[in-house]
């Protein structure tokens, strides 16, 4: 019973994790860059919905497009003003560059919004729950799960059915060949960053309904996203979806197991330790992930 409940809650969390990781894997797939600032995009998405709610009393659900727009703009701005220049340097500079961006956005948020923990307490969905038989689901989490499914469907459709999406895939397979075929790879990169920022911004907009927003919230989620992306195989959309689910379930079910066997070591303090360990084991044992093809 306890386990079934943890499983279902884990799936809901997992859908959200997958949505957070989606952008990271798209960006990695297209241009082989790991965006450490990804969690900060999430954080700013959270804040944008929070402030829209706070100042204009817009319902968090209706304010969701705001967070998507903020995410897209952030993605585009970081690409055109910063990442583009990083690409000329060695890989080590790229890692540190996005790391610098991460720190900058964190402290920018701290400067503007202070270090207070903020959460939305009023809204159409906030605080309401749906009970199905013995299980109780928060509507906010259900909505986040549904949004994640929709987002995955849209991104999948975009990549596989539209011309731009196919060009994007071609760029991720072979940048040089793609540019010979007349694909403007620079624009493809920008599109990848826009998708990445937009999806993670929306995830943030959903998350703020049931999780505190604070300047350092990103690091936790970016580590989870790294684990998901690694497990799914860097650059694989399908992979990251299932990996997100798996990590979500793991994160929920381990404390329950710990509770059942009466051990503190699997307790809630360690639920993210398991995620870090999972990442480490996955990349060492199976670097290509579940569905990955890039080495």
């Amino acid at each position: 019973m306890l386990i079934a409940d943890a499983l279902l809650q884990g799936i809901l969390m997992g859908l959200l994790f997958a949505l957070v990781s989606l952008g990271l894997t798209v960006i990695f797939g297209v241009m082989d860059i790991v965006n450490f600032a990804h969690g900060e995009f999430l954080m700013l998405g959270m804040y944008s919905v929070y402030w829209a709610n706070f100042f204009f009393h817009i319902d968090p659900l209706i304010a969701l497009p705001v967070s998507a727009v903020v995410g897209v703009l952030l993605g585009l701005a970081s690409y055109y003003w910063f990442i583009k220049y990083l690409l000329r340097g060695p890989a080590i500079a790229q890692l540190f560059g996005t790391f610098g961006l991460m720190l900058f956005l964190q402290y920018f948020a701290m400067f503007l919004f202070s270090a207070d923990y903020r959460m939305i307490d009023k809204g159409i969905l906030v605080g309401k729950s749906l009970s199905v038989g013995p299980f109780i689901f928060d509507w906010t989490k259900l909505a986040a799960g549904i949004l994640s499914l929709v987002a995955f469907a849209v991104v999948y459709y975009f990549l596989h059915k539209t011309k731009t999406g196919k060009a994007l895939q071609a760029t991720s397979l072979n940048k040089e060949a793609a540019s010979y075929m007349g694909i403007r790879t620079d624009r493809m990169n920008a599109i990848a960053w826009a998708i990445g920022g937009g999806t993670v911004g929306m995830a943030g907009g959903m998350l703020v309904n049931f999780y505190y927003a604070y300047p350092m919230v990103g690091i936790l989620f970016v580590m989870i996203a790294f684990a998901c992306v690694a497990l799914g195989g860097f650059g694989s959309i399908k992979g990251v979806f299932f990996a997100g689910l798996l990590i979500g379930i793991l994160e929920m079910i381990f404390p329950v197991f710990g509770h059942l066997i009466g051990s503190d070591f699997l307790g809630p303090h360690f639920k993210f330790t398991i995620v870090y360990l999972a990442y480490f084991i996955i990349v060492v044992v199976r670097p290509q992930g579940l569905f990955g093809w890039k080495n």
Partner: protein, 332 residues
């Protein structure tokens, strides 16, 4: 003997660099006599400490070219070994510190063996993960004080055995000595076989492998040297603060600072980590006390700090030393 000569031999540097080193050394030696306040002394101690960390990181991160972002776990190991042995068994610093180094090196071999199957991004993220796992464990382990940390018993009299002093001047000279040991070691290291092997690996792994270099083993060795360096620094932090907790010794931000200072100064150069620390530590400190203390300006110090990282990584990935060398070439 040969090694010692290599370590003390700076003759392959340009004249300007050697003169710079002498002036710098004289300055370090007389600094406490200049009547500096305690704030300036703290900044200098931090500077020397982070130079030491940066030099350690430089072996694997600079010469080896591996983006290592988990050095804080070894700082923690060094710090906790000294603290715990002192609290539990009253073991003097001079015994517990070498044991801390041994534990750090042993642990780095265990971690390094699977870790160096990885490359690039995978490796960088994995180093963060290992460091965070250890921090989580120490945060929740009641035996070692959990998140509260441990306080060291304070002695009434200055004690060389336990390295406890009333005055910062002693701590200053102590870290200075460690700094010079580190500097001479690095001067030897860059000319050693392993040093050349690492640079070869950084340039072209396939070529290095075809020449019969055992890449993974070289990286593991460099990684454990780096770990030993930061473990010494960790032990120093314990006796300097007389207090140790996971937040101050194992935080991710410490790992990042270590790597950033070396990167910003110029990775794979002997002076790089020192320049980076000389630049960032005072910046960090002064901005922190000047801007961070004022109401409504929290965070602006780190904003400036990170903006600097952004600019340097985008325009001169070889760091400040890279900029200096660029100017020097233009001068010729």
């Amino acid at each position: 003997m040969e090694k010692l000569k290599d370590a003390l031999d700076f003759s392959d540097f340009s004249k300007a660099e050697r003169i710079g080193l002498v002036i710098f050394s004289v300055f370090l030696l007389v600094f406490p006599l200049l009547g500096a306040g305690s704030f300036a002394k703290t900044v200098m101690i931090q500077f020397l400490l982070f130079s030491l960390f940066g030099m350690g990181w430089n072996t694997i991160g600079g010469y080896g070219g591996q983006v290592e972002l988990g050095k804080a776990q070894y700082v923690g190991i060094g710090a906790y070994t000294v603290a715990l042995m002192m609290v539990w068994w009253r073991v003097p610093f001079w015994i517990s510190m070498p044991i801390g180094i041994l534990i750090a090196v042993g642990y780095s071999f265990i971690i390094g063996y699977p870790l160096f199957r990885l490359k690039g991004h995978y490796f960088a993220i994995a180093t963060i993960c290992t460091s965070l796992v250890l921090k989580d464990i120490f945060d929740n382990w009641n035996l070692v004080g959990a998140a509260k940390g441990i306080e060291l018993p304070i002695h009434d009299h200055p004690d060389f055995l336990y390295m406890q002093f009333k005055s910062d001047t002693y701590y200053y000279y102590f870290i200075m000595a460690l700094f010079y040991i580190g500097l001479f070691y690095m001067n030897w290291f860059r000319k050693s076989k392993l040093g050349y092997q690492l640079r070869m690996i950084k340039d072209d792994e396939d070529a290095a492998e075809s020449l019969g270099i055992d890449i993974r083993w070289c990286k593991i060795k460099a990684y454990s040297i780096a770990s030993a360096f930061v473990a010494v620094g960790g032990g120093y932090i314990t006796v300097y603060n007389l207090y140790v907790d996971p937040a101050s010794t194992m935080e991710l931000s410490l790992s990042i600072k270590i790597a950033l200072m070396a990167m910003l100064g110029g990775a794979a150069s002997l002076w790089g980590p020192i320049i980076g620390a000389a630049f960032l530590v005072p910046l960090d400190r002064f901005l922190g006390s000047w801007l961070g203390g004022q109401k409504g300006l929290t965070g602006i110090d780190f904003m400036i700090y990170s903006a600097l990282i952004i600019v340097v990584s985008a325009y001169q990935p070889r760091g400040i030393w890279g900029i200096i060398e660029q100017f020097r070439k233009r001068g010729h």
